[in-house]
Subunit: 142 residues, 6 copies
């Protein structure tokens, strides 16, 4: 009989500065496009990583939550907390730090560790930028 | 190469009164069906609108969040905040203002502005009525 | 030795409609004064009642939280949940249902049950009207 | 014309103790696997049950939310609130009370009441164990 | 008879960047003192302003909440939202933007508008920097 | 001139089991007094510690928040997270783990470290037991 599949989600929060400024556009275009986000500001970001997989009949878990937390800290939190996302994060060099791009990059970094997920696979990365704004990325799964 | 697809969500909150009373039913049937919701009461509603689309490689965005916010304010918030949903909202005339119907109507109003969504498309409308109750509508996408 | 004094707080939430309209003022003055709150709308209200008193050395409690909850339900919740605060709540008849006045009236109703508080005394009533607005009333204690 | 399909969600919270200890593993293995979760501790759990179905054109509802609440209380809350999930809940006897397994068992119990859901069907059970950890189970729907 | 005194609170949220670096200290001392906060990062800040005063018997209000909101936007929000608190806010020039100092400066700015508070007086300014850290300033009232 | 005094608050969350059972009372009396809390259950607890003091003109801080966090982890969190408060916490031996008593004991433990608070002094310990229940202890300050 097939094992039931469950999705598990762990969240981490970090504080960082960023600004939105596209190098291909003029200053005036940037100002018009991003408005107040064109200048340096910051957020308390919340990152949720969801993995999905069969529940192990012995452990009752999809994967060890502590390992998921460790991956998120090593691959994401340790690099972005209390940083300036445009300037001090090597893996974001040359990437416009919109919430959309952060979700994609965070996905790629967790996905690169997929062997540590056991029989689970990465399902979704959510980046919450403020209480009324968030984005979701699902990789190629959908 | 295909551009990555991301979902972005913006939320707005509004305060409104409503009552649930189906005109096709008798007063006794309405009382039995809706219980305390049959009399005029109210909520702080939260509306989340999610759109999905490819991330623009220049702007790093699915669409301008400010434009999404503007659509939500012009099409929803300006009409329902501090209103009596059964009586003072023209686009709700004749519609029973359950959370389900609100989600459907809000969907239709945002969908009517779909040209303003650029390459994104409307994905979901969530209406949160209280801390323990909410509904989701996905249009015809699912 | 004096027993340590601790404050305990219990919260209840209710959904209600109201409008702000002062009978001593003209319609135009009301409109100017209350703006959008002059028309019927509603909220998910949160009421917090705080009592303070010595901790009983046998029970480890200031008072039985279940009794505090019962007082709040019997004196407040049962009367206001799913009601129109201007029209259907007998104890609010003739009272303008601003958050300030609600806090005062809720205080009076809990205070009238003060014998049920044992050695504790009513300290504060907080009424949260929306996520960014709340009021506190402390009776004559301060 | 097809009736629009909407998902509705109701949540309940309960407080319970549990420990994670797999009987097939040695004490040392359990300690290594579950870490601090291997000893008795507890949580304020939040359970969200989502059902999906067509909106009834007369009532404007997918199903009566009061009935969904009743099912959740009778089948879940009444049995687990203020309990020790490893010891005092008959329907959890022999089941390791991980969040994953709780979601599956809660699903089965609500699903067993599916005739009470009317034309709606169970879609998702979410169990939130703490502010940064939750799991989702979708049965066989996905 | 004395009018009952009630405290009312309004909150606003803003997103900003800052860094903690004391000019009187060496770089090494700054690093040791502030740790990760010594580099540029950011937060979603929440500012709560509480005023206290007698409830007007005609309006049922301590003061018009809309006016309090306007003061907060004109004196605080408009100047700090989407800004770099160390660099782009004139009234913070030369002030180390710790949460403590922000609360004091925000107090001073609201207090300077005290004539607009009517018979109410400023009671407290709270600055919430992240979900687990906040500060309160009460001026000279205590 | 006097330095402005500010209160700063840091919060930590922990998960623990407990039961309320007074040894001086009979089983029947315990059952009647504590109801469902008489059996082993658990919570996600939130502990807020507030200290108050003058703002240092050089650092802009009342005290180093990192030091406050360290005190809370060393004196509270490390001992109670994922524990059974009636059984496995040495400093709670013989103490009925009501929220009131937890607040008092946590106060005493932080107070014993008061030299590490610099020129600040302990002001309040809040213990939040569930979303609708919390207690506050102020020591002898009030």
């Amino acid at each position: 009989m097939a094992r039931p599949e469950v999705r598990i989600t762990h969240a981490e929060e970090f504080s960082a500065a960023h600004r939105l400024h596209a190098p291909q556009l003029s200053d005036a275009e940037n100002k018009a496009l991003y408005g107040p986000c064109n200048t340096v500001h910051g957020h308390n970001y919340r990152v949720e990583v969801t993995v999905t997989g069969p529940v192990d009949p012995v452990t009752g878990m999809v994967m060890n939550l502590t390992e998921l937390m460790r991956i998120m800290r090593e691959e994401i939190w340790d690099h972005v907390d209390h940083q300036h996302l445009n300037e001090t994060v090597p893996f974001l060099k040359g990437i416009l730090p919109t919430a959309e791009n952060l979700a994609i990059v965070f996905w790629q970094r967790v996905h690169a560790q997929r062997e540590r997920l056991g029989s689970a696979r990465l399902f979704r990365v959510r980046v919450v930028e403020s209480r009324d704004n968030f984005v979701d990325y699902f990789g190629d799964l959908r």
